[in-house]
């Protein structure tokens, strides 16, 4: 069985590529995090607003 081709990771040396591969695996884009937080906040806010509205009725 043929080994899988090496993943396309930038870097001039083996250790640089390894380090970059690790970083890629654990890095999350800030935009994505912010987008997820905004979406979760939107749902929470709406639920909270509706619960409060009920309490004040």
């Amino acid at each position: 069985m043929k080994p899988l081709p090496a993943p396309d990771v930038p870097g001039k040396t083996e250790s640089e590529r390894f380090s970059n591969a690790l970083r890629q695996a654990f890095t999350v884009s800030k935009d994505d995090l912010l987008k997820r937080e905004a979406q979760e906040k939107k749902t929470k806010t709406r639920k909270k607003r509706m619960t409060e509205k009920k309490k004040h009725k």
Partner: protein, 154 residues
């Protein structure tokens, strides 16, 4: 398992007068879109974060167009009829004025099943019982032939 979820009834008030059933415990790993397509391992939303998934090339998960495209990819086509047709499975997309909010899937019995955000799954007899401030209204019904005579997760 609890018979009713009072917190849920606060935000979906029509459920108070509806004989719905809680069919699973809370599970934050998947959402309504994932549940509708039969994936219980990913949260379908378009961010590149582990545990989240959105099909490549599909418009934003914040748009109705994006949600419709997801279901088109899975073989669904738009229809106006939400009644039970035994050879078809159907989904119903709810949307507010600004964005899609929820999707429910029809079961072989004709009842509907929904994953409530990161919380529980419920079975509900009608689509109207989830309409309201939280999810908006049903704006799109889609259907596809049951694949191999079977429905998603049944």
């Amino acid at each position: 398992m609890l018979e009713r979820d009072h917190e849920l009834e606060e935000v979906c008030p029509h459920l108070k007068e509806t004989p719905y059933k809680i069919t699973s415990p809370k599970d934050p790993r998947y959402n309504c879109v994932a549940y509708a397509v039969g994936d219980l391992k990913n949260f379908w939303y378009d961010v590149s974060i582990k545990g989240y998934y959105w099909p490549p090339g599909v418009p934003s998960a914040d748009t109705l167009e994006g949600w419709i495209k997801v279901f088109e990819i899975h073989g669904y086509k738009e229809t106006l009829d939400s009644s039970l047709e035994p050879e078809y499975e159907k989904i119903a997309i709810y949307a507010s004025e600004t964005s899609p909010e929820h999707v429910a899937r029809q079961k072989a019995s004709g009842a509907w099943t929904s994953k409530m955000g990161k919380d529980i799954d419920i079975e509900h007899p009608s689509l109207g019982c989830l309409e309201g401030d939280l999810y908006g209204k049903v704006v799109k019904i889609m259907k596809r032939k049951c694949q191999g005579g079977k429905r998603v997760l049944e």
